[in-house]
Symmetry: C2
Subunit: 341 residues, 2 copies
């Protein structure tokens, strides 16, 4: 304290060695003080703490996690930060309040550009070191035997193997399609989700089942792929509307696709819902903001995120993996109506 510290903040990080030097003790002693290990003289402890405060030292998460087993951070691994993942994140974050875990979210395929395999990559890169447990959002692949407890949200595999939280995709899709049918639509298009995802398969299956139950023949030309993303949904919606006999209603596999379909249709001069009815899936915040408001299938994303956190926390505490299925229900807003003719 009287000794002017040699290393001042400014350039580079303040490391534990800077603290040790300034306090005139060994690195190990500083470590013990910081981590509250006992067997340190009060005077020493006070002095070290003083230097820590003065230098503004914080231990590096990276270095700490290399050495320790636990980091007390749980990771949410996503492909990119789109609304679906963000809502989940929100629920996960609030479920973690009051626990002693911090939360970190990692978007693994932003730079990679590739869609496939990011889950394994992210899990390998972060698991076992940076994070104590992981929540993976919409994995494409079966989860690898992972070094850390993992729960998958909306998984490819369906509820087998590792812990999962998913939605009643089949029932929701059926409800969406039945709603359209009950309005009187017979020519109903479907903008499919991402090819490799189980949820996309189930939502299409629900669509088909509802059609079949109503005695409406399935027409493959009425199904295009939006891959759950806005960019891919533009051509998907365009293709549907370009059909010689275009659909009077569209069930989109998620809200992002549905909102894009509305945009495309509106740009072509179609009125929603008079000329085209659109139903989405998810009920993201943007759904109610679209105009007209989007009729959709609600899955409570924050609740799913919170459920995933609770599951993970249990597993971290030694419990067995479980499977949780959340309900999906129709929310009526303004984007659906009876067909014109």
């Amino acid at each position: 304290m009287t000794d002017t510290p040699v290393a001042r903040v400014g350039v580079g990080r303040v490391t534990i060695r800077d603290v040790a030097r300034a306090a005139g003790v060994s690195v190990a002693t500083v470590s013990k003080v910081i981590n509250g290990r006992d067997g340190i003289a009060d005077a020493t402890s006070a002095r070290v703490l003083g230097v820590v405060a003065e230098l503004g030292y914080e231990s590096s998460l990276v270095a700490t996690s290399m050495r320790r087993r636990r980091t007390n951070v749980i990771g949410v691994l996503v492909a990119e930060f789109e609304p679906f993942a963000l809502q989940l994140l929100r629920g996960a974050s609030s479920a973690l309040q009051g626990t002693d875990y911090d939360i970190l979210a990692y978007a693994g395929s932003v730079s990679a550009g590739e869609h496939t395999g990011w889950e394994r990559r992210s899990l390998s890169r972060l698991g076992g070191t940076l994070i104590d447990g992981a929540i993976i959002v919409t994995p494409t692949v079966a989860l690898p035997e992972s070094s850390v407890p993992t729960v998958a949200v909306d998984p490819h595999t369906g509820p087998t193997g590792p812990a999962t939280v998913d939605t009643d995709n089949l029932g929701g899709a059926r409800a969406a399609t039945e709603h359209l049918i009950s309005l009187g639509h017979r020519r109903i298009g479907h903008i499919r989700g991402r090819g490799d995802l189980e949820s996309a398969r189930l939502r299409e299956q629900g669509y088909r089942e509802a059609l079949a139950a109503a005695g409406i023949p399935f027409d493959p030309r009425l199904v295009t792929v939006g891959a759950y993303r806005t960019a891919e949904s533009t051509p998907a919606a365009t293709a549907l509307l370009d059909l010689a006999e275009p659909p009077t209603a569209v069930f989109a596999a998620n809200d992002l696709s549905a909102i894009e379909a509305i945009r495309v249709a509106t740009a072509r001069g179609l009125r929603i819902p008079q000329d085209l009815s659109v139903v989405g899936f998810d009920d993201i915040p943007e759904a109610v903001a679209s105009s007209p408001g989007l009729t959709t299938i609600r899955q409570s994303l924050p609740e799913m995120g919170a459920a995933a956190v609770r599951l993970l926390l249990d597993m971290l505490g030694g419990s067995q993996p479980e499977h949780i299925r959340m309900p999906a229900e129709l929310v009526l807003r303004g984007s659906t109506a009876r067909p014109k003719e």
Copy 2:
């Protein structure tokens, strides 16, 4: 390949040593192959790559970043994952598409519970090791001399020192209050933002200036603190409505507070906007979903996030820090009307 690998996936991470052993080469060689360093025989390289694929090896982000200078990861540091931060994150994430950076978001005060100082803590814990640059959302404190380039969004300090992206808080708040005044309100409450934030101060100042310009005396009882959070806004709104002479309109410092004020008022049997007009600030997706839709001041959060990323990328490329100010504009929805009497 003919040699049966000893260590199989399963338990623990696959490390570079497992790969080295299975491929019959040294750890150093594996590292070179993975990082594309030259001076490796094609045959060796191919063999190593084969083992890597077979074992599903990915280098640990943590270990790599300890040794290397760059990680190609940029960090978004937030207090918690609430809607404001999430929207920013969304913009940041999409602005990063196509670059070779990945993005990681860290919520630093989830476990800490403490509100203050998380920025410095997070920055110290991640900067210099895990991330190449940081975007900090709403810092309480002046940024420390940081080891990595940093841009602050909605900073305490206002546009001085480090790079910042902020909103025209003063102008927006004035516009919100003027709107209420132009409707005929004279008794206008304000739910203030978090005490230590510059944005909260500026929004209150805008409120006061608008009042003064209209010749309406400032009444301190009409200002309560919601701290930008739902939980704190409940008592703040309640206190306002409990006043002997309650306000006929409220300008809340952010949408979360405004929405909570609407909830509290509605629960008391007040009708919005007939009995109470409410204006928010931010225009988060939830604003349009509230009923009635929330009249608010829009700041485009995704655009701010994207601007922050561009700034940071420039700085990583050697540019000087800059200050960007985004516009804030009034969005009329259903939560405001003329006062009754």
